[in-house]
């Protein structure tokens, strides 16, 4: 609570200071808005170009007008067509299944660990923390060969064996889950839990009935981050998936067109837009939570 008040005061101070600066220098305001324009163009222009191209007739692929011309939905049809060995529709389903399973398991397992890290003292706590941090710094390729051999022996690299991706993804998502959740949990009003415990709740009850509802924003943000990470992964997916488990990133990267050696740009942009736009909308809606989730652990302490 005090932190919030302090932050508001600081913001007010900053605003005041800013006004003083502006009175001195009207050019500063112009420069600031120019800078903001650069930021917005930086963030949106390439993504906008993808969406515009997705709606453009394939004959006008390299049209340079900044708004949609020769609008058509054919590219989306091409993206979903299963001719020429493309399975984009199926890949969407695979990625959604993998993403949901990974998010659910990583959140459950990560929540236990994050609660322990945020709320408990136990021997070896900093060893565990270091181990988790080390795991997050790891180069994925260092695991590729042994996992490839292991999964080949288990016969997981053929058929519909989602676990060949799901299990590594969970492990890779756990450090992110635990760090983000620990940062959120550390900021919660734990006095309430104490009161519940004194009133006779078990630790598990106190967590489930009192703290979990309060933690929902943090849990939700973490879940989005984990889902995004699983949805966006490419390297392992390109090595471990079969046609029955191929994910969207692999499908898009290996998309083939009607002509050999001719990239089907417009169809790929359409597929990219389908994969990206729902994520972007979600990120825009939950922008405030995501930014605080991303930076929660970053600067405090």
């Amino acid at each position: 609570m005090t932190a919030v008040t302090a932050a508001t005061t600081r913001a007010a101070d900053a605003a005041e200071a800013q006004e003083i600066v502006f009175k001195k220098d009207t050019g500063a305001k112009v420069r600031m808005y120019l800078g903001l324009a650069v930021l917005v163009i930086w963030g949106l222009a390439p993504a906008y170009w993808m969406v515009v191209t997705a709606f453009r007739n394939v004959g006008y692929t390299f049209d340079t007008s900044p708004w949609p011309t020769h609008v058509t939905l054919d590219n989306f049809k091409t993206a979903f067509s299963t001719g020429r060995g493309n399975h984009f529709g199926a890949a969407l389903v695979h990625s959604i299944i993998i993403g949901i399973v990974v998010t659910a398991v990583a959140m459950l397992v990560g929540m236990f660990a994050a609660y322990a890290m945020a709320r408990m003292e136990f021997p070896g706590k900093y060893v565990v923390l270091g181990f988790i941090l080390g795991a997050s710094m790891f180069p994925g390729v260092a695991l590729l060969t042994p996992l490839f051999k292991l999964f080949a022996n288990l016969k997981w690299l053929a058929g519909a064996n989602y676990q060949a991706l799901v299990i590594p993804y969970i492990s890779f998502a756990l450090p992110l889950t635990i760090y983000t959740l620990t940062a959120f949990l550390a900021e919660m009003p734990w006095d309430l839990e104490e009161s519940a415990r004194i009133d006779g709740c078990t630790p598990a009850q106190a967590f489930r009935k009192i703290m979990l509802p309060l933690a929902t924003p943090g849990l939700f943000t973490t879940a989005i981050l984990v889902f995004l990470a699983s949805w966006n992964e490419f390297m392992l997916a390109s090595q471990f998936t079969t046609p029955q488990t191929q994910t969207v990133t692999v499908a898009i990267a290996s998309f083939t067109g009607s002509q050999p050696h001719q990239e089907p740009y417009t169809a790929v942009m359409a597929a990219g837009a389908i994969v990206t736009v729902p994520l972007i909308i979600m990120v825009l809606i939950f922008q405030r939570w995501i930014v605080s989730g991303l930076t929660a652990g970053g600067v405090k302490g």
Partner: protein, 354 residues
């Protein structure tokens, strides 16, 4: 336990009463982190050890000396000298083989890392300073800047493959100011910069948000004092802003550095290694596809050592304080929970692949 719980409300909530409420923490705490440790051990620790073990074994294949097909066996350090000293069997690796590409892949990876991270740091600080103002539509700008971060790297690579096509928008816009056209996905230098530009576009916003969070913790009276003392803008920036955001900045730089050292998705999709853009990670994957599991393990172990050594340098000498241990946390039972500046950077990674 119940007796203690009944007694507790009567007492003032001293640390002692709290301690008894939290009895059994040591066992429960370990129990709660056990599933995580299990996952990380099976998928990260075991494969890492396994990779090191098999990197000292021979690849199955024809023995050059006897002409016989051999299955495994001890290899000593020959898998490492294969890469580091460019030894294929008894002679040096012929040009064009995967072995001969090691130093090219090593230096191009270092080049990507140094150039990308340098540009991202400078732009990230600038972006953060722009956003660290009071203006209307703050949420809109932050949302816009999250867009590159949310797009999968594979899609980013395809998007820039289109933007950098010969007839694409990049050459069109550069043509308007009399530059180019460039062969962005095949010319050696243009291809390297195509990858760097795509990487910078995707990851600078994240760096900016992290630095911004650090900037917002600097109290405004420090700046007022500097202004009263007549400090120039440059002095304010170098003497106040930079030192005060040093920790979040170094953490961001550390994680971005480790991230680019293992770069795979962008060069694999955008250029597919054309023009000398094969990164170390791509070389590992090629080696696996060629069936050389053991020499691939040696190479991936070298990549791991490179990354571990870089992380060590940053944490030891660069002030990247990734685990903030509360003072005296080891002794006190009621210590504050550890905070992890790393959380942010971990989340930055485009894929789950660490």
């Amino acid at each position: 336990m119940s007796a203690v719980a009944q007694q507790a409300p009567k007492k003032a909530p001293t640390p002692k009463a709290r301690k008894s409420l939290n009895a059994g923490q040591a066992r429960n705490g370990l129990l709660l982190v056990l599933p995580t440790l299990l996952f990380l051990s099976v998928i990260i620790l075991y494969p890492l050890i396994n990779a090191v073990v098999i990197s000292f074994e021979k690849d199955a294949g024809l023995d050059k000396a006897t002409g016989m097909f051999v299955q495994g066996g001890g290899a000593g350090i020959s898998n490492y000298t294969h890469w580091l000293l460019q030894q294929c069997g008894t002679e040096s690796c012929p040009p064009g083989t995967l072995g001969a590409q090691f130093y090219s892949a090593f230096w191009v990876t270092i080049f990507f890392t140094v150039v990308s991270v340098a540009i991202e740091t400078v732009l990230g600080i600038w972006f953060a300073m722009i956003m660290n103002r009071d203006f209307k539509g703050r949420a809109l700008v932050r949302a816009a800047i999250l867009v590159p971060w949310a797009i999968p790297t594979a899609v980013t690579a395809k998007l820039f493959y289109f933007i950098f096509a010969y007839d694409g928008i990049a050459n069109h816009l550069l043509g308007n100011i009399g530059l180019g056209p460039f062969l962005w996905t095949s010319d050696p230098w243009a291809a390297k910069f195509a990858i760097i530009i795509a990487d910078v576009w995707k990851t600078t916003p994240f760096m900016a948000l992290l630095i911004l969070a650090g900037l917002q913790l600097i109290p405004s009276d420090v700046y007022e004092a500097a202004e009263i003392d007549g400090a120039t803008k440059w002095q304010t920036f170098t003497k106040i802003t930079l030192p005060l955001v040093k920790v979040p900045l170094m953490v961001a730089v550390l994680f971005r550095t480790l991230d680019v050292l293992r770069i795979y998705d962008l060069p694999a999709i955008l250029t597919n290694g054309v023009g000398g853009t094969t990164s170390l990670s791509m070389l590992v994957v090629s080696q696996i596809r060629a069936g050389g599991f053991n020499s691939a393990s040696a190479l991936s172990t070298l990549v791991f050592l490179l990354i571990a050594f870089t992380a060590f340098l940053f944490i030891q000498f660069g002030g990247a304080d990734v685990i903030k241990r509360p003072p005296g946390a080891k002794k006190k039972k009621d210590a504050a929970p550890p905070t992890a500046p790393a959380a942010t950077a971990v989340a930055a990674q485009s894929g789950v692949t660490p």
